[in-house]
């Protein structure tokens, strides 16, 4: 990835993101791994792009999602897909495992961080390979972690309690989905840059499945809201 600015010597550095995506939540369950994101890309505080797919399928058994600068997400998807495609030229049927992608992304992120020009992302790689579930987190600095559950962005603050209380690593797919839906419900209430339409994707022994977007259930018909909206309150 060489840009004209690099050649001319006037390197532009990413100092702040422009179009951003929200939190990503990823969990393992008994048959694989599941990732959830919302479908919003914000332009600062403006909810501009409301129907964006932020989970990409990289290979047959690997998916990738990230929060942060969306153009960086798109570029990373291209880079990872390039690796998967390059496997074809060797004709040996060997494809990178999800862990290989995770490590590659960690090396890439670290390299760009060292040039003070980071990929402004918190990345999640999820996959299922040889019967093993894989969840990897790569952050903006190139830190690489593997875990049973991963949260990025505001989800790290609001959702860990929900995950701790309602999820375990051997739960069913439906239970894991419910936990993620509950998390995004809370996020929509608390995170200003969150959206109530989410998308789930899971990888199991059969491969990757990306579901259609769904709206989380939210409740707004509280009596308190209704009575506050009563005009009489505001007349003297």
């Amino acid at each position: 990835m060489i840009f004209n600015s690099e050649i001319s010597g006037q390197q532009q550095h990413t100092t702040s993101p422009v179009v951003t995506g929200g939190s990503v939540i990823a969990l393992v369950y008994n048959g694989g791994v599941i990732v959830g994101t919302d479908t919003l890309c914000s332009y600062g505080s403006m909810a501009t792009f409301k129907n964006v797919q932020k989970i990409a399928q990289i290979s047959k058994n690997t998916i990738y999602a990230s929060s942060g600068e969306f153009s960086d997400f798109q570029q990373v998807v291209k880079e990872l897909a390039k690796i998967d495609r390059s496997a074809l030229q060797y004709d040996d049927g060997v494809h990178p495992s999800p862990k290989d992608y995770g490590n590659f992304l960690a090396r890439l992120s670290y390299k760009k961080r060292c040039k003070i020009n980071p990929l402004y992302l918190q990345n999640v790689i999820a996959g299922f390979h040889n019967g093993e579930r894989y969840l990897g987190l790569v952050d903006i600095y190139g830190t690489y972690l593997e875990s049973n559950f991963i949260t990025t962005g505001f989800a790290s603050y609001f959702c860990k309690a929900i995950i701790a209380n309602y999820w375990n690593e051997n739960c069913t797919l439906d239970q894991a989905k419910q936990v993620i839906r509950e998390c995004f419900k809370v996020l929509f209430c608390r995170d200003c840059r969150a959206h109530d339409v989410i998308q789930l994707a899971y990888v199991d022994a059969q491969g990757a499945h990306i579901e259609e977007p769904e709206r989380v259930e939210t409740k707004w018909d509280f009596n308190g809201f209704k009575s506050r909206a009563n005009e009489k309150l505001h007349t003297q």
Partner: protein
């Protein structure tokens, strides 16, 4: 024959469609001392006969570890072999640095073959004068490859290259149908038996001039030490190839 008209460099074809310089490079491989490899479902074994330049000298090593899961045995110009060995080791290291996993074997052999081919298509270069037997394990299974100065590579169940290797190949042809299910010990004894076929009458196998390397799905590449080699060479006396057991 008018070979000498067409054999000056790599960029000249002969009327019969041959590149003589490449063929001459393959001759260099045939001059090297023998090395052979054979594989089962779980293990690959490399056996080589080491040459001693003179009484005062040590024996030239012929097997080199590329990575935990891969090793090569060489026949031909040792200096050229060292270049390829360094290249393979570097590629494995870089792959491991980027992906934290082992370089797929076939892919590395492909890269070596590509590098070798490059040397056969230039007026200013010469082909590598070494043939490699590459033993490796990866998610696709257990592998044994041969590379040539021509840039071709082939996958084998068992193969011998170098001086008098035809005798070893003849042994393999009779017994290779057994190798798939052989134990490690049987595989080593088959390898040494094949090696024995290829030595001269006044030579004998001993722990100084024989090199045996083993690689398995759960076994990183190691050389057998002097004592183990001695024991195997003794077992060789009573090894029956057909039944694969020791016979009195």
């Amino acid at each position: 024959m008018l070979k000498h008209l067409y054999d000056t460099d790599c960029v000249t074809w002969s009327p019969q469609g041959k590149l003589f310089q490449v063929e001459y490079a393959m001759e260099a491989v045939k001059q090297g001392s023998i090395c052979l490899g054979l594989k089962s479902n779980e293990y690959v074994v490399l056996c080589s006969l080491k040459r001693q330049p003179s009484e005062l000298a040590g024996y030239q090593e012929k097997q080199f570890k590329i990575d935990d899961h891969m090793a090569i045995a060489i026949a031909g110009l040792t200096a050229d072999a060292r270049v390829l060995c360094k290249y393979m080791r570097t590629e494995c290291l870089e792959y491991k640095y980027t992906y934290e996993s082992h370089h797929p074997v076939g892919r590395l052999v492909f890269k070596v073959a590509e590098k070798s081919q490059h040397k056969t298509q230039s007026g200013a270069k010469r082909p590598y004068g070494v043939g490699l037997l590459v033993a490796g394990i990866d998610p696709n299974g257990v592998h044994l490859f041969e590379t040539c100065p021509s840039g071709n590579y082939y996958e084998y169940k068992c193969q011998a290259i170098g001086s008098r290797s035809q005798a070893a190949r003849t042994y393999f042809e009779s017994w290779f149908h057994l190798f798939e299910k052989s134990t490690l010990e049987q595989l080593i004894l088959h390898g040494l038996s094949a090696l024995k076929k290829a030595i001269m009458e006044d030579e004998e196998l001993n722990e100084r001039n024989v090199e045996v390397g083993i690689l398995g799905k759960n076994q990183k590449f190691i050389h057998l030490n002097a004592q183990e080699l001695k024991d195997y060479i003794v077992k060789l006396e009573t090894f029956n190839a057909n039944t694969q057991i020791q016979q009195e």
